[in-house]
């Protein structure tokens, strides 16, 4: 159905922040004085439009909530046709509210956080660019529009990780993030090509159908093709969402300013992979293999991220490991099929609130500690930063899953859904999710105790103080989300709201606070907290990191992900490059030059110098042409 009313203005959602980015980047220094205000205002404007669209949607019945908006014909040649279309449906509007809501809060926070940065205007330009691209990603009405947004957020992420370009570590991390994401995008592009060859279109409506009643072309996929498309989409999702084996960029991405880590590398962009998998549900449902691989990737990453989180003394990196791990939960849920889609998205939204809150809280702490990120230099901050402590604490309770806070509802939902999955697979997946909950409780308690409790371990000259209102108010708003988002979504019928997009869960089990898996999770969480308390709460924390066990060392080194990449990809790549350069200079060009010298050798040196050019290039061209002719003959005779 066509979008009407406010929903017909869905393009404004993207246009407003995009205009902000354009004005701030092209306007240059002239916009320094008010640039941050304009950026924030436009982000808030997008939120207002999104909220109005949401209210309008609530007025429609189930199937009518899916509205399309045709903007212009993007490209057409022969049978290839791509329209600039937007799709407003319950799934996309959920993301719209998260992106613009949390995004606006982070804009406001950044006004204070970046106040002393001479390039604050450029920062807001990039933030606006990000919001625009992310909204296109979730609102795009076909896979190509989604891909354009997908790479757009990659660009924004690159620009913001490398915002402090003059720091070599930041410049390297930015490049790494983009390149690893491009490896994922390779998968996405192959999936696009497969879709075009299979369906002849990229449209969500044509491929995926329009909800529960009308099936799309995906339902006719052969298992093999469905597996291929599904796995290639998963490769894309792994890159964007920092899932194994494409996880290595996320920890380095913490080089960016903290609001960026909160918005892009925790709350929104990194969850795009989950969006892609849930959106493509009808494709994944045609292949059990693809779904199984999705759950395995999720389960492995949720454990790996949690283990990495345990080993980090850098508060942002501990939180980054945690982000990997939490997205692992979402991916796991998304791979479970109809039982998991709504929970995956619910956890995604809940996580968006509490993780953004945690990161911004970390930023507030860093602000107080002269940008020191080492938690071994923190301690006892509870007393001096009451608001930060309280809001961070609520986020902490939410993420470890203490009832009745946010994460309790959504994460328990995932654990139970995993156990409910068939047979041994379900037991293994559920077991991983449970274990992950215990480790989460441990590492988050570690962060909490090392930062806010225990004795002062402050460096000399550090005088911590509470952050200004412009930073603490967003913290408080996000804390409300940490408290209530989970219960609101899980008890408030979020899965019914999403049903027109992802279908009804097969068996509708309501929330059961006494499910065995849930109770087990609570026990494990308590154990995790207790272990952390024994080590970091009850005992003084050494200022210098102890040597640590094998596991700790491995966790500090990101489970050797970088070492693996380096030895498997970077080193061989460097050798290949060198070899190719040598071959091109000496081989293609030089062999022929040598041949020319050999032939001309008897004629004496003088002549060779004079005619060397002519002869060697004549031969070199002949050589090249001969290669082409020979190849044609060999193949075609």
């Amino acid at each position: 159905m066509k979008a009407e009313g406010v929903q017909a203005l869905a393009w404004l959602l993207i246009a407003l922040p995009l205009a902000g980015a354009a004005v701030l980047l092209l306007g240059g220094r002239r916009t320094d004085r008010w640039g941050h205000l304009l950026g924030t205002a436009l982000s808030l404007g997008a939120f207002a439009v999104g909220a109005a669209m949401f209210v309008q949607m609530l007025g429609y019945g189930g199937e009518e909530r899916r509205r399309t908006l045709h903007l212009w014909e993007f490209l057409q040649a022969g049978s290839l046709k791509v329209d600039a279309d937007l799709l407003v449906d319950p799934l996309s509007i959920s993301f719209v509210l998260l992106i613009t809501g949390v995004g606006s809060l982070i804009h406001i926070y950044s006004v204070g956080y970046m106040a002393h940065d001479p390039d604050r205007r450029r920062f807001f330009a990039y933030l606006n660019l990000f919001v625009a691209a992310m909204l296109l990603l979730v609102l795009g009405g076909n896979y190509v529009m989604t891909f354009i947004g997908w790479e757009g957020v990659g660009l924004a992420s690159y620009l913001l990780i490398g915002f402090w370009q003059h720091k070599p570590t930041a410049a390297t991390a930015a490049k790494k993030a983009f390149v690893v994401n491009r490896v994922g995008d390779f998968g996405f592009v192959v999936a696009l090509m497969l879709m075009f060859a299979t369906f002849g279109t990229f449209g969500f409506e044509q491929i995926l159908g329009t909800g529960a009643e009308h099936v799309g072309a995906a339902s006719k996929l052969s298992t093999g093709t469905a597996t291929a498309i599904g796995l290639m989409l998963l490769v894309g999702a792994c890159g964007k969402s920092a899932q194994l084996p494409l996880q290595s960029w996320l920890l380095d991405a913490m080089e960016g300013p903290t609001p960026v880590s909160a918005l892009i590398h925790a709350a929104t962009m990194v969850t795009a992979g989950v969006y892609l998998i849930v959106r493509s549900a009808p494709i994944f449902e045609m292949s059990e293999t693809a779904q199984l691989v999705v759950t395995i990737v999720g389960a492995v990453t949720l454990l790996a991220g949690a283990i990495i989180g345990c080993g980090k003394d850098d508060i942002k990196k501990a939180l980054a490991g945690s982000t990997m791990s939490q997205i692992g939960y979402m991916v796991l849920a998304a791979g479970l099929g109809p039982a998991g889609y709504a929970i995956a998205i619910a956890h995604l939204i809940a996580h968006g609130f509490f993780k953004a809150g945690l990161f911004l809280g970390a930023g507030s702490v860093m602000h107080a500690m002269n940008d020191d990120v080492n938690m071994r230099h923190y301690g006892a901050l509870r007393g001096v930063m009451k608001i930060t402590w309280a809001t961070f604490g609520l986020g902490y309770l939410a993420i470890i899953g203490v009832p009745p806070f946010s994460g309790y509802f959504t994460k328990d939902g995932i654990i139970e859904a995993a156990f409910a999955h068939d047979g041994a697979t379900g037991m293994v997946l559920g077991g991983c999710a449970l274990l992950g909950a215990a480790i989460t409780a441990f590492y988050m308690s570690r962060v909490m105790f090392m930062t806010f409790y225990g004795a002062k371990r402050w460096e000399e000259g550090v005088h911590p103080h509470e952050s200004p209102k412009v930073m603490t108010v967003p913290l408080m708003v996000l804390a409300i989300g940490s408290i209530g988002a989970g219960a609101f979504l899980m008890l408030g019928g979020f899965s019914d709201f999403l049903a027109p997009v992802v279908g009804e869960p097969e068996e509708h089990h309501g929330f059961n606070p006494f499910a065995p898996a849930g109770l087990a999770a609570l026990v494990l969480v308590a154990a995790g907290v207790a272990v952390a308390w024994r080590q970091y709460g009850a005992r003084p924390v050494p200022v210098e990191a102890p040597a640590g066990s094998f596991v700790t060392v491995a966790a500090r080194k990101d489970l050797y992900g970088d070492a693996l990449n380096e030895s498997l990809l970077m080193r061989p790549g460097q050798w290949l490059t060198r070899l190719a350069v040598w071959f091109d200079n000496r081989g293609v060009d030089g062999a022929v030059n040598g041949l020319a010298a050999g032939i001309g050798g008897s004629s004496g040196r003088v002549r060779r110098v004079q005619t060397g050019f002519v002869r060697s290039y004549a031969l070199s061209m002949f050589f090249g042409a001969a290669v082409i002719v020979a190849a044609l003959l060999v193949v075609n005779v």
């Binding site: 022969g78 354009i148 090509m193 369906f199 190719a580 050019f613 004549a618 061209m621 082409i628 190849a631």
Partner: protein, 522 residues
Amino acid sequence: MEDFPWLSLLIALPLVGAVVVGLLPGAKEALVKQTALGVSLLVGVLTVVMALGFDPDGARFQFTEKYWWIKQFGVHWAVGVDGVALVLVLLSVILVPLVILASWTADGRSGGVDVPAKRSVKTYFALLLALEAMMIGVFAATDVFVFYVFFEAMLIPVYFLIGSYGGAQRSYAAVKFLLYSLFGGLLMLVAVLWLVKLSNEHLGHGTFLFEELRTIKDVDPTTAKWLFLGFFIAFAIKAPMVPVHTWLPDAAAQAPAGALVLIVGVLDKVGTYGMLRFCLELFPGASAWAAPVVIAFAVLSIVYGAVLAIGQVDLKRLVAYTSVSHFGFIVLGIFAMTSAAQSGAALYMVNHGFSTGALFLIVGFLIVRRRSAKISDFGGVQKVAPVLAGTFLVAGLSGLSLPGLAPFVSEFMVLTGTFSRYEVAAIVATSGIVLAAVYILWTYQRTMGGPAVEKVQGMADLTAREKWAVAPIIAIIVVMGFFPQPVLNVINPSVKVTLERVGHPQDPAPKIGTVAENGARP
């Protein structure tokens, strides 16, 4: 206006301009530059006026002119443009004034180190104008002999632009360029002469007119294959494709950046344009015969060029190798023989011209400032010259085909169009997007990122004149990234004719297609 000799005028005007600039007193440099800029702007405006009169749904070739030139040999002065030729002519006339503007103070000094201290300024600009005439001529020619004449005549201004205004190794690079091109030209000449013999046999009269030659049927397949090769190798050298690409990096390293914009941005397109126009339409059978091998070489060019680009230490050589990779995409699209791939390839030619043009211009600005083209001599430019760094980044991002910028559209079309016929080739070619990210962003990191190195400190940001030279290109790249369809509307009908000629009027059908009827969930 129908019979107005637009194209002859557009070819003659810059030639006259070149002569006028050449006759001006060399001491009055400002006058020389203003005249050159004025002429090129006039040509640009006239071309745009002409292009507005082009009807995509009308006759294939429009603004046609046909006069006897050498009647005894059957040679006509015949010009006209179809959609593909038109957009390439537009590309040329937009780039030339910008190159002239960008070369205002450089007069070739963006060639690198050890550039000759003082060379004739007016000759440089006269050569640029002469080159513009040749470029318009080569795309507008509808007589194969006229095409050949322009194809060879282009070498002369380029030879002098590299040989007289280049860096330390300029004569080496110029000779290498010239010999490579002459070798290809020679092969093509043989093929052209053979063609006229064929026309005598099949049509009863000797002719070089493209529209007549393409109607010749029943050419002996072996002959057609040899003729195809004669044209193809000439075009492959010009394009340039691996393994006949080695002239380009040397030419790029030595030529002044302004000239490079035209050499790589426009001249090399003559190679791919020639494949699309002449190889495919004159020898459809032989093209089908050669397609699998050509596609293999195209994919090789994509990957090999990208890997080589990563390994370069010189900025201009680096951009040259990225072009080898991009030309691989263009050739891939041409020979995949689907509408998406071929329209994509035609669009790619235009987009690459702007994208690489911008990159070379900005690299030129960097070299003029630092007096070096070595990547390791830069570092931290972003801190001292943010606008320069920003434009470099945008141009670079277009080089890695970022969505939202024009080259993405064409690369995407080539890849999806290729996949439906050659799956493996398309998948291997897709790896180019990862390699492109490495070569662009690593270069950006090394030149622009990090703390400003000593020699870069105090580097001036872009001047107003330099901004005016780059801004239009960047604007075009952005606009065509979001709204490529107006250009595709011009290109598509020409591509359709070509595909019908090679026997692929229909694209491969999708395996499942979309489901029209609404069934229940299984």
